[in-house]
Subunit: 191 residues, 2 copies
DNA sequence: TAAAAAAGCGTAACAGCTAAACTTTCTAAG
DNA sequence: CTTAGAAAGTTTAGCTGTTACGCTTTTTTA
């Protein structure tokens, strides 16, 4: 990697670090974008060149490839496992893996939990993969790629993390969400 | 109704009318809040006193009582009908009723469809009723009011309208969504 | 080593939104 | 009927996120 790219990455990291620190110290809404740029010793315009999606994006620096993981969860699930179950396990695994990996992951989650704008943004990031996930599910089930049922399952799956966040017991809550998606609402069957 | 209240309502209506007209003529993002205030012959601060939730709220003037209708759909459903089915029918009815009632309803829907900010806002308005709906469902099922399964069903139900909007055939798409919520994803059962 | 590419800068501006202090209009109680 | 106060509205001024523009500096590459 050349010097240019290294410096670029350093500036970006500087911004993300400053942002996360200031946000966790004083709260997302109490910290302005000018201040973050100052803390990273960079101009505001530079900040927005690194994070064109805006202030919220500063918090979601690590943009790992979740889409591939989602599609793989469907495609490569063990025999006898349902699609909802595969997605369920994949989400569980993703979460606990990151808790162990990143030491600041707890702060990160707390920040998101307490900031509506960030919750929204996180949700939108997940939902970006709706199309790809729906297509994978449809392919697996032998249905057209835009089948509404597949889209619904994809959509609800991707929304599940945001939905259970804030429960006393998010793990159990997630189980219940996938009970619903896997088995439907118990009681009189719909016509 | 006194003169004061009448004038207030007139101003509000003036603003909503101007906004809807300008938005449909030129597109949501091409019309600024100053211009709307001008068109309604009112100051910008006045506009925001009438619509404290911001520019998006100008489009959703009619805030009828959907929450009561949702809760009633669960509570007063005919015997033998499942909760998802009751909610399904209620959403269908709500939609077709408003198509017949309001002549500008089509413009209104098209505007929302083509404007991400408005879609988001519409979704948030629906989700405001999540708590009440979840409580009604839980009460009906004899579960604690904050049961995660009930919350999930409420959440997914309220999200269904936004989800099917934009399909070739929204009606059928809605049927599929409620198939999923009522019967679960077909195939190997989840553990 | 010259020139293209890219990172960064400062200024200026726009959009949405809010606070503050002040004027007009309506309501209602004495 | 009058008058005090509530409520609607106005002006001004400003904050925050975000972008455009034109310029300088650094790094790459031909």
């Amino acid at each position: 990697m050349g010097r240019r790219e290294r410096k670029k990455a350093a500036t970006r990291q500087s911004l993300a670090d400053a942002a996360l620190r200031l946000f966790t110290e004083r709260g997302y809404d109490e910290v302005g974008v000018r201040e973050i740029a100052d803390a990273a010793d960079v101009s505001v315009t530079t900040l927005f060149k690194h994070f064109p999606d805006g202030k919220e994006a500063l918090v979601f620096d690590q943009d790992v490839d979740r889409e591939a993981a989602l599609v793989a969860a469907v495609r490569e699930r063990p025999a006898g496992q349902s699609v909802p179950e595969a997605l369920h396990r994949m989400l569980q695994g993703e979460h606990s893996r990151r808790v162990r990996t990143d030491p600041r992951f707890d702060d990160f989650l707390r920040l998101i939990d307490t900031t509506p704008a960030l919750r929204e943004y996180a949700r939108r990031m997940w939902l970006r993969h709706e199309h790809a996930l729906a297509a994978a599910i449809a392919d697996d089930a032998g249905l057209p790629a835009d089948d509404p049922g597949c889209r619904a399952l994809a959509h609800f799956t991707l929304e599940a993390p945001a939905l259970v966040r804030g429960s006393h017991d998010p793990d159990t809550a997630l189980d219940r969400v996938f009970d619903l998606l896997g088995n439907g609402w118990p009681g009189t069957r719909a016509g």
